[in-house]
């Protein structure tokens, strides 16, 4: 009785190993089912998801105008102090003084891509870009100014 049980055990064990080996051989011979992406080589064809949160950017139109009113909602919403809004005084055509943004400083090194600033913005001035290759040689390059130099606020955005 012991011998029969022993042989059965051995048979069961060898069978279980062969079943697993069969699965491995299946993938060895079916190359089409391999789904690995060869990342640095497929850079030209790589398409990121449209909602992918890579970094915060401020879109400008062709006249170099943005939609940021400088309300600081993004600065308040940010948990890490990633965004700083710096103001300047501008003269309107009527000669009145008007507050406008000078720089919108964005610290990429502090950002966790939580999307709270984009959600908080009432005028859709900032959005998330799909870039993800952020490595640079010096830390200071990660501090970015989002508005282009010489840019103005778009007409009709309050």
């Amino acid at each position: 009785m012991f011998i029969i049980k022993y042989i059965k055990e051995v048979y069961r064990g060898v069978k279980s190993l062969l079943v697993g080996m069969k699965r491995t051989l299946y993938y060895f011979t079916h190359h089409k089912e391999i789904i690995t992406q060869e990342y640095p080589d497929n850079r030209d064809t790589l398409v990121m998801a449209e909602r992918f949160k890579g970094e915060v950017v401020m879109p400008h139109n062709e006249k170099n105008e943005h939609r940021c009113t400088g309300c600081q909602a993004c600065e308040l919403a940010c948990p890490n102090g990633t965004i700083k809004v710096i103001f300047k005084n501008e003269l309107t055509p009527e000669g009145k003084k008007k507050k406008a943004i000078d720089k919108l400083v964005y610290h990429l090194e502090l950002c966790t891509m939580c999307n709270l600033c984009v959600e908080a913005c009432p005028s859709d001035a900032i959005k998330m870009a799909q870039t993800f290759e952020h490595s640079v040689y010096d830390r200071s390059e990660l501090t970015k100014i989002l508005n282009n130099p010489g840019s103005k606020i778009m007409d009709g955005v309050e």
Binding site: I35, C114, L116
Partner: protein, 371 residues
């Protein structure tokens, strides 16, 4: 006779596993007292990845603190965020729209499958099988793609906000999830062929690390670690939140209490999550995905507690509010901490080689234990 097992005597060897060791899945330091090859004592040392998340949360507003909790149990970050959002909603008395509830449950269950798949691959790798890791990541990858499309991130999503979810579902979401379900059903038998039926794997798992139901309760174990011993503790069944009480699914229970039982629990739990997703994917109600809340959230004075079932067990969020915009105190009851504390108990008297199998089936995520 009473035998003193916890003390060091002459001839004992003390070895350190970690803090940097592939088998500990993170920066966990185990001080193991050995007598020959038999384990006399296991002492986990924590603190290597302590980021004081609870203290950080005290300086963040109720909208902001949710993103930090993704960094605790990073494999079930959706469920962590869900727990925090639910706790804040409890304080605000906000009614979450039905669409948001369904989206939340769908995301939770997808996260649970992704988490268990990674665990399955890592578990097999702990025991020396390297290929299953890639098989597990193949299915997990399609879940990550679904998450990336809808939430915008693959691991730390920050998709749940108080009152609902941050963005509406992507138009392709239903199609992609159905594709995933088909892929999963086509590939699920491979899990059994490669690992579960394997005789070497079974011999290394069966009867190893026995945890009795009494000990599971007294150590505060939860999740698959306790359900492997037959303790019914699924928060989705016991204290249903969101729409879990209207869904049809079984609480998976095994009674053996060994490592293999805990392994089987997770495999069967994935099937139940698939069942939940199948019920919901065609029945997502129309409507708002977010309730209207004030721009600045203020919780009334008081204490609020909410628990949810993560992939690892019971996660509790306890908020003490003084009526301001930031919490006065936040405490997280993490499942991993209690599950780790039982390791010393189940490891005593077994061999050193089996320790990895026991640790693997407890499914420890160290940033969750240390916070």
């Amino acid at each position: 006779m009473f035998e003193e097992v916890g003390t060091t005597t002459e001839g004992d060897i003390i070895i350190n596993v970690g803090p940097q060791h592939p088998a500990t899945h993170g920066v966990l330091h185990l001080v193991i007292t050995l007598n020959g090859e038999t384990i006399k004592k296991v002492e986990p040392h924590l603190g290597f990845i302590h980021r004081s998340i609870e203290k950080m949360c005290e300086s963040l507003t109720y909208r902001q603190f949710i993103y930090v909790t993704s960094r605790m149990d990073y494999l079930s970050s959706h469920i962590n965020n869900h727990a925090c959002a639910l706790c804040v909603e409890k304080g605000l008395q906000v009614e979450v729209p039905p669409r948001a509830q369904v989206i939340r449950v769908l995301m939770d269950e997808l996260t649970r499958i992704a988490s268990h798949e990674l665990w399955w691959g890592a578990m097999a790798m702990d025991l020396g099988a390297f290929t299953p890791f890639f098989h597990a990541f193949r299915e997990r990858e399609s879940i990550n793609d679904i998450m990336e499309e809808t939430c915008g991130a693959r691991l730390t999503m920050n998709y749940m906000v108080p009152g609902g979810v941050m963005q509406d579902l992507h138009p392709d979401f239903q199609k992609r999830v159905k594709e995933f379900l088909q892929l999963y059903k086509r590939k699920i038998h491979e899990y059994d062929e490669l690992v579960t039926g394997n005789i070497i794997f079974q011999n290394r798992m069966k009867g190893i690390g026995y945890l009795s139901p009494e000990d599971a309760v007294s150590y505060g174990c939860s999740g698959p670690a306790a359900r492997g011993s037959g303790v019914s503790c699924d928060i989705r069944k016991v204290y249903p939140y969101e729409i879990y009480d209207k869904l049809e699914f079984d609480e998976v229970l095994e009674t053996a209490g060994d490592s293999f039982a805990r392994y089987m629990i997770r495999l069967r739990e994935m099937q139940q999550s698939i069942r939940i997703i199948e019920q919901l994917i065609d029945n997502i109600p129309d409507g708002d995905f977010q309730a209207k809340t004030k721009a600045v959230l203020k919780l009334p004075k008081g204490e609020f507690y909410q628990r949810v079932e993560t992939a690892r067990g019971e996660l509790g969020v306890y908020i003490v509010s003084e009526g301001g915009t930031t919490p006065y105190r936040i405490k997280f009851r993490s499942p991993g901490f209690s599950n780790l504390s039982v390791l010393d108990h189940i490891a005593r008297g077994s061999k050193l080689g089996d320790l990895v199998a026991m640790m693997g089936t407890l499914d420890l995520v160290i940033p969750d234990i240390d916070r």
